[in-house]
Amino acid sequence: MKSYHLDHLQHLETEAIHILREVAGEFERPALLFSGGKDSICLLRLAEKAFRPSDLPTPLLNIDTGHHFPELNEFRDQRAQQLGAKLIIRTVEAAIAQGLAQPVPGEISRNRLQIPTLLAAIEEFRFDCCIGGARRDEEKVRAKERFFSFRDRFGQWDPKNQRPEIWNLYNGRLNPGENMRVFPLSNWTEMDVWEYIQREQLAVPSIYFSHQRACVRRSGQWLPVNQLTPPTAREEVGNLVVRVRTIGDIMSTGCVESTATTVADIITEIAAARITERGSRADDKTSEAAMEDRKKAGYF
């Protein structure tokens, strides 16, 4: 007997492709945010599925903090080239030099400064829509995000006044200067992402797999030893076998001890995990409302 059944990944896939094509149909100048991280790798494959054999109708955009893992940027550039996609990189460094972003004295992290850099890129290219790989299961403020997330002229998100989202009818209408963030992976979990990477046999940056790394113990986590914030004499340093679960800046990305060398190993590891992936990101821990504040101000 013929079966007309989609499994959970196929459901998530067709939902995301539908959203990507709605973006292509309704926006003049969309961009796809591509960092080289696991979520945006899935996003790119979904864009291929949505638009091939045509070229991707959107350029790829990455905001480079200058504190990225080198493995990540290498992967990002390589993948964009393979796909024949246009890759636009805007750096926090340049945004600071041009006076578009102002660091607070003593501020080492570039996390906050990504926001004005992104908003400036949006203005420069007059993007009316940015497609991102954020997922609702990452964090409880993200859990309230719509697929189509409206931003006002200042790039701000108003969580109390979001457009209702009903069936698969997305309202993408904008007035000049306004912007939409679109998140096709909203309903995906960390597990779904890895299962999809497995099914599609997608390449990922090497730092997702187990490797040896010098790490420093800070606020209950192992962070990569780096030159920006070198370990002090009193800090515990170790040479560990680790991998990263979610990639942020090199200063704030926690490493987890792991021997996972294949995607299948990672899936087994996540299935048994007792800590969320964001549990290894120091930037979210600052306060319960850390993510909300960044998002309201225009974060991805």
């Binding site: 007309y4 492709i17 094509r21 599925k49 309230k144 009903i166 319960e288």
Partner: protein, 446 residues
């Protein structure tokens, strides 16, 4: 009308499916606590989340972990102890994956409830056992019926505060059953529970020997998900014309396809299709996908169709099969949920988004408004205010090709958008068409 999906017969492992459900109730009925409890007891809460909860428990002073804080993600929500916007949660058991839409019960509830419920397979209506059925319980249930959510769970919460009284449970149940027959809901289950203490959420409660049914999670894991997808009548709203400009691969030089998500039925290579609104007939030359061409595709797959003829077709067009034809008209009748602070009145103009097209419409008539207390329609109201459910007639600038919502959710639904502000002001469910399209060409040839 709804064709259930065939279980996949060939594969050895049953594919994991997804149950989408939403929870609704009034403020303080215990929704957030219930979801926190479901996640907690099904071991879906991770250690760092628990640590954050413990930190905030210390800060708020009473030292008690507040499970509601797991879902209340916005600062204003934690401060005011209420849930402001729909929050989505994900968890899995070995039997199923779950997507929860937690829909708050305050002033914008219709808007949030419709957002959370429109794609749900199941709806949980929470009742505080002390207060029993209130207007909002009726409104939520009416909305679940209107949206045709196939399964309803009436969770009678805070049973610990009424001494686990079977009599009280039966009283509330009887009150519900009085108005249920007026709504179109196929399957209703009543469960007595205490979200706070976890009784009958994941584990069966020792306090309810009189209750023979399953705990909530058991029910969620085993309820049969009849398909929302209609496999009888091919519908393909065109999203995007796929025409490579300067393909590096020369075989795609003349490629011209139409991309979209199948909104109903099945399509096969070689099949005859009608392109609307042009009304011309063509054949499917190829069903193109990234993973290679396929012989057939079905709702809700996303595909690209290559057609035999180079016909006038673009975003907003719809391809349909030659049987189970859709209706067409510029005059539409619909049930709507009004979601805007400014009331709907006759004569007002809006933009209507239906499948992949957006057309101007004018409201020609307000037929009735649902009285939530009696669940009777009140004829000819002056307006529909925020959160009202009612029937209206619209006149559209162009004819729509559509089905009744009860036949096909995707081709039978629309939203209304206010021009200028671009606010989404209503969700609409189309009444069955009074006439179907009549292809004029005898022989189906161009």
């Amino acid at each position: 009308m709804f064709t259930p999906l065939m279980p996949s017969a060939s594969s050895a492992t049953v594919p994991i499916d997804i149950l989408r459900f939403n929870t609704c109730g009034s403020v303080d009925d215990g929704k957030s606590t219930l979801i926190g409890r479901l996640l907690f007891d099904s071991k879906s809460i991770m250690e760092d989340q628990l640590a954050a909860l413990e930190r905030s428990a210390d800060i708020t002073g009473n030292g008690q972990i507040n499970l509601a804080n797991l879902t209340d993600g916005l600062r204003a929500e934690r401060e005011q102890g209420i849930t402001i916007d729909v929050a989505y949660r994900y968890f899995a058991t070995p039997r199923r994956k779950f997507i929860i839409a937690d829909t708050p019960g305050h002033i914008q509830y219709t808007r949030n409830m419709v957002t959370g419920a429109s794609s749900a397979n199941l709806s949980i209506v929470l009742i505080d056992a002390r207060t029993g059925v209130i207007e909002q319980s009726r409104r939520h249930t009416a909305l679940a019926g209107l949206l045709r959510i196939p399964h309803l769970v009436v969770a009678i919460n805070k049973m610990d505060l009424v001494g686990w009284s079977e009599a009280r449970f039966n009283e509330i149940r009887a009150e519900f059953e009085e108005f249920l027959p007026r709504l179109d809901i196929q399957d209703v289950k009543f469960i007595p529970l205490s979200a706070l203490n976890g009784d009958n959420v994941v584990e069966r409660s020792p306090h309810t020997p009189w209750y023979a049914g399953p705990p909530l999670l058991d029910h969620l894991e085993s309820v049969h998900i009849a398909s929302d997808w209609n496999l009888n009548g091919f519908r393909f709203p065109v999203q995007w014309v796929n025409r490579p400009h300067n393909p590096t691969n020369q075989t795609f030089h003349d490629f011209r396809g139409v991309s979209g998500q199948i909104a109903g039925g099945i399509v096969r290579t070689g099949q005859k299709l009608i392109a609307l609104p042009a009304g011309v007939v063509t054949n499917v030359r190829q069903i193109w996908t990234y993973d290679g061409p396929v012989a057939e595709a079905f709702c809700p797959q996303s595909v690209t169709l290559v057609l035999d003829h180079d016909i006038d077709i673009s975003r907003g067009s719809m391809l349909v099969g030659t049987d189970h034809l859709p209706g067409t008209s510029r005059n539409l009748q619909a049930e709507i949920c009004w979601m805007h602070p400014v009331a709907l009145r006759r004569g007002k103009k809006y933009l209507l988004k239906h499948t992949t097209q957006t057309v101007p419409v004018v409201v020609t008539e307000i037929l009735h408004k649902l009285n939530i207390a009696t669940l009777d329609p009140e004829p000819e109201p002056a307006e529909l205010a925020m959160n009202d459910l009612g029937g209206i007639r619209l006149h559209a600038a162009q004819p729509l090709y559509f089905d009744g919502y009860t036949t096909n959710r995707l081709t039978g639904s629309f939203i209304l958008i206010e021009p200028g502000t671009n606010a989404t002001v209503a969700a609409g469910l189309l009444a069955p068409p009074s006439e179907v399209i009549k292809p004029e060409f005898g022989d189906y040839a161009i």
